[in-house]
């Protein structure tokens, strides 16, 4: 077992990158991800991490460097937020079909405009279909563990996909939490060196990322879709092996006090911990409420979600992004789709909350459950509501 120490979660993320012994880091500082890049550049400068640190001129270049370095067989890391992510998005979409297991920590932040440096999930939801495996962390330990798990899973021969570790900006990235650092020996046991079958090498020339004509494009997309789906067993295996080594077992959907629950709150990311408080308070008052916390967003854990949600009468889904003029928050609309063909399915209420770091307190979750109950009792089934908006 490693030592349990208090540290800023961004520092914990950097420590994980150091422990993963990456070969190339290319990143551009942007709030609230900055501390990760700063800390990593210190590691490299001080000789604590033998990696190439490329101080790129933009995020577009950061992702281009990482895609290229991964293609030559180097373990590659980047991290960004919001506008930076949008600038790199052209290349983000290239990395997955090329099957290059880059790992990125995304310190989630609102997208402009209006300019906001604060936290919600509007950035990552805009690249929902980029083809990367996507985890959501709930606390500092999750972040550290999932950087390591990401390399283990992404670089698996049966996966070979890039991975995003989402962590909420500020409410996770800038808080100091107790984190257990793993020792290098444990990490090395868990994470073998990156050895891809095919690399860019002048001695054995290959072409990566070539043009594909309409006669074959559909087939490449089918292959990509199947690859993401096929990563699921390896993701589960990765968590199992990590748990066996550290005692920390993770699941696609984490359940909290769901035994016999009539109503289930559903969250993704850091607000899950606050929702646990709310569930405790409601349970104390005799309300039959539990909590589902989505840890895996891509591939979407259909089987686990249906199993976890099937017995409830009502889901209260808390989204942290808006789909303007759409069917509701992205999480709720996907959950609804996942349930549509079920013979017995719970009612789904959807609240969009916590935009740009607006507080979502335990009493807000209680209020959402109450309001959803009230609406359904009246026979209303609203698509979604932007919670807490001043009218």
């Amino acid at each position: 077992m490693g030592k349990r120490v208090g540290m800023e979660v961004s520092i914990a993320a950097s420590e994980a990158v150091r422990l993963a012994n990456v070969d190339v880091i290319a990143a551009y500082p942007i709030t609230p991800q900055t501390h990760i890049v700063e800390h990593l550049s210190e590691f490299v400068n001080n000789g604590e991490l033998d990696a190439e640190f490329v101080p790129v001129e933009s995020e577009h270049s950061a992702m281009s460097v990482c895609t290229g370095s991964s293609a030559v067989g180097a373990r590659s890391f980047t991290c960004t937020s919001s506008q930076g992510m949008i600038l790199m998005s052209e290349i983000i979409y290239c990395t997955a079909p090329m099957r290059l297991p880059v790992v990125m920590v995304l310190a989630n932040r609102s997208l402009s405009n209006p300019i906001s440096i604060w936290n919600d999930h509007t950035d990552v939801m805009s690249i929902r279909d980029c083809g990367w495996i996507q985890y959501f962390a709930e606390n500092g330990q999750d972040v550290l563990d999932h950087v390591l798990i990401s390399y283990r899973v992404g670089e698996d021969r049966d996966v070979m996909l890039p991975v995003i570790v989402n962590m909420d900006g500020f409410s996770l990235s800038h808080v100091i939490e107790p984190v257990e650092l793993l020792d290098q020996e444990t990490v090395d046991k868990f994470l073998p060196p990156y050895k891809p079958d095919i690399v860019l090498d002048p001695a054995h020339p290959v072409t990566m990322g070539a043009i594909v004509l309409p006669s074959c494009y559909t087939e490449t997309k089918k292959a990509q879709d199947e690859a993401v789906k096929a990563s699921m067993p390896i993701i589960l295996k990765g968590w199992q092996e990590f748990g066996d080594l550290t005692g920390r077992y993770y699941h696609p959907i984490e359940e909290y006090r769901t035994e016999g629950a009539d109503v289930l709150l559903v969250t993704m990311g850091g607000i899950g911990e606050t929702a646990m408080w709310a569930v405790d308070q409601m349970r104390e008052k005799g309300c039959s409420v539990g909590l589902l916390k989505m840890r895996l967003w891509r591939p979407f854990p259909f089987e686990e979600f249906r199993k976890a949600a099937s017995k409830a009468r009502m889901l209260v889904v808390v989204d942290r992004a808006v789909s303007y003029g759409g069917p509701g928050g992205p999480v709720a609309s996907e959950l609804r789709s996942a349930l549509y063909n079920e013979p017995k399915r719970p009612l789904v209420a959807n609240f969009i909350a916590g935009l740009a770091s607006r507080d979502v307190a335990p009493f807000d979750f209680i209020e959402m459950v109450d309001r959803a109950e009230g609406a359904f009792k009246k026979g209303m089934e609203p698509e979604y509501e932007i919670y807490g908006v001043r009218e």
């Binding site: 290059l100 990566m208 074959c216 087939e219 490449t220």
Partner: protein, 96 residues
């Protein structure tokens, strides 16, 4: 080699990596052409400017060193004709 229409989704290398170098030669981009360059040997000074500027590497030299084009790959863009110093290249419509 398999024709592109015969590929199933399971037939690609992972990440559709192309492991056979130079296979793009089999794709005859000259099919797109609506104009072709005509080379006038009387004017050609064998300077190679057309060879430098051709974006498709479709210019080659005959045994005497005069420039000519490989119509399998020439897209008929006309850059060679525009750049040719002695004016030895003219573009003509394919129909003619």
């Amino acid at each position: 080699m398999k024709r592109e229409q015969e590929y199933k989704w399971t037939d690609f290398e992972r990440g559709y990596v192309i492991t056979e170098p130079g296979s793009s030669r089999e794709y005859h981009t000259g099919d797109w052409r609506s104009q072709r360059p005509i080379f006038d040997k009387e004017r050609c000074i064998k300077c190679g400017v057309c060879w430098i500027f051709c974006p498709d590497s479709a210019i080659r030299f005959d045994t005497e060193g005069y420039a000519e084009t490989d119509l399998d790959y020439c897209k008929g863009c006309g850059i060679c004709a525009r750049e040719c110093l002695p004016g030895a290249i003219t573009m003509v419509d394919e129909e003619e």
